[in-house]
Subunit: 370 residues, 2 copies
């Protein structure tokens, strides 16, 4: 018998920039021309059917002019495409076109595109670099910081994936204008969640400037894009592997994700989160962590943004409660709720701590009422 | 416009032990009982139809006795199972059984099992820990050091995957006895490749003790298991991400992998590598890097081990040449050959250097002759 020690201690630098601005295509091209991807000259542009003509095609054409070999890989827009099958189809198409390890991936689109493309890049040739060109507020809120990439499976959302950091992220605010209002509101849902968990100032800014946001005023859009990044970054930096602290980002998501799944994705992610937030503030208020007024103020802002704050009738509440316990964050059948403390803070949350019986029964009650 | 810097510099410790010995099941249980996996109490045992009853089942039963929740996930033995579909089926089965992020994967089997299970572990819940219990010589030679995990696709072998380091590797030499002779020889093929590229002593040991190896004499098996690790480790440590140096491990693989693919996997990996090595030593000899006698000595050892050193008649040589250029290591349609220098060394190899026209045409000639 003998033991052989494999010593693998190393320093990894996964740092990257997030650039926030209007019409960032030129900035992307400049960055590539000044060496963002080193010697790589082959780019797989991954996008969806909504974004193809608006952004991915013009960007691809500019890249070809700059001397890149570019192919576009397009899948049907929507969360339903965020699957292992879509990933597989794109992988096969890239292989077919001769893409090997000497390529990079450019994701152009919303959160579904960036999640899927980032995961694909992480396992293509055991990892090729990728860049996110995010065209939606949800992607700006959700997919810009943190390196989480994943796909959904029939039994769980976002469970198969990777932590994988991009080379750079572009948040193109100009692109938000092309979003249907429903998508914009859905993105705003995660933004408001960030405000609720970390910044009363940001919450008040959104209350005051909700109309400016929906009319795409540049100052308002930049403010929320920047503050999304700041808050996520502050949380994620302290806990890159989600061992504990990062879970505060799941505020409203315990119920939200279950609703999203039970709705069969009739609800957008941000809509499901809005209902989850409504449930969460009710729970937090009943447990005494925030006042009834604060809870109502949160719910009112979600409503003003055109988001649902009650459970739609077509959702079976019993099925929803059952789904809660199959969430991927559920350990050994025990639930965990992140609870809000006033507006702009959360109740301290330790990795090993699960929902108390009182919290679980209150949550069940709230689901039945909501 | 604003730029937000995400600073992500960190030190990662991926160190692990490789334990080489006879009947290591008890050692595995001891390690688990003394905290190898921390608090994790749920184990997904991934194995194939050959290894299930011999090792995976007894190990699983012992784990259950030790208080673990264990499920076995079994797929049909063979390289043909090393696919995204098999990975997906096991993921779904694990989800169905309630496996979330609080689990670990225990791979019990040969290289196909460890490659697939290591990849699956790397993307399950964005990464859960895994342990390799390797039961074949090929796994000992190939899958023990280096952290390469992957699956095959219709268009490329090992192209979709991850670098993912296990918590520990067990190389159970006793298990080699249960291998069909053909599998043992296939594993020895990679071992002899290691000797050829890095150790004349090891090459001579194998020449002298080939019969001891095939009669599973403990000293001989331990010697080759240990020296496989040493050589691979020395190479991999200097180049974890395969930017250059690590490619020396592809000795014999440029042609070998193409033959494996063109044979439709009628040839085992090690058999295809044996033919690739025969082609490689001919090429190296013709280019003057080794003598004719040395080349014949290598080929003779492969033959004595019962491995093929000529291209089977059913393989279309034109198709083979074409396949060479679709290998995943081929960049921009340019081939790269690792060439042997005498016995126990390789010709220095730089990342940017491709095969010269002379080398390519010689290689083509050799393929037509072999």
């Amino acid at each position: 018998m003998s033991i052989f020690n494999v010593e693998l201690i190393k320093t990894v630098d996964d740092s990257y920039e997030i650039e926030i601005g209007y019409d960032l295509m030129n900035r992307l091209i400049e960055d590539l021309e000044t060496g963002l991807l080193g010697k790589i000259k082959k780019l797989s542009v991954i996008t969806d059917s909504n974004v193809r003509d608006l952004y991915a095609k013009p960007i691809s054409e500019r890249l070809v002019q700059s001397g890149y070999k570019v192919d576009m890989f397009v899948f049907p827009a929507g969360e339903k495409s965020k699957t292992r099958q879509t990933k597989e189809r794109i992988e096969d198409a890239m292989l077919e076109k001769g893409y090997r390890r000497d390529c990079a991936v450019l994701a152009v689109g919303g959160g579904v595109v960036t999640d899927l493309a980032g995961f694909l890049a992480g396992t293509y040739g055991r990892g090729v670099p990728f860049i996110n060109y995010a065209t939606t507020l949800l992607a700006a809120a959700d997919a810009s910081v943190g390196g989480k990439t994943a796909v959904d499976t029939p039994l769980a959302t976002n469970l198969i994936g990777l932590f994988n950091q991009p080379q750079k992220v572009y948040l193109d605010i100009a692109a938000w204008k092309t979003l249907p209002r429903r998508e914009m509101a859905s993105g705003l849902s995660e933004t408001m969640k960030h405000a609720c968990l970390a910044s009363r100032d940001m919450f008040e800014f959104i209350e005051e400037h909700l109309d400016d946001i929906f009319s795409y005023k540049r100052f308002a859009c930049e403010y929320i894009a920047e503050n999304n990044c700041k808050i996520k970054y502050a949380v994620v930096m302290k806990d890159e592997r989600e061992s504990g602290l990062r879970e505060v980002l799941n505020l409203g998501h315990t119920v939200g994700r279950a609703i999203e799944a039970v709705s069969g994705y009739r609800l957008l992610h941000g809509e499901a989160v809005a209902i989850g937030m409504a449930a969460q503030v009710m729970l937090s208020a009943r447990l005494g962590y925030m006042t009834e007024e604060e809870a109502l103020r949160v719910t009112a802002l979600y409503e003003r943004a055109g988001l649902p704050v009650t459970i739609p009738d077509y959702i079976d509440r019993e099925a929803l409660v059952k789904k809660l316990y199959t969430d991927k964050k559920v350990r050994d059948g025990k639930l965990r709720f992140v609870l809000q403390k006033g507006i702009g803070d959360v109740v301290e949350f330790s990795p090993g701590v699960f929902a108390k019986p009182l919290e679980e029964s209150l949550a069940r009650e709230i689901i039945m009422e909501l």
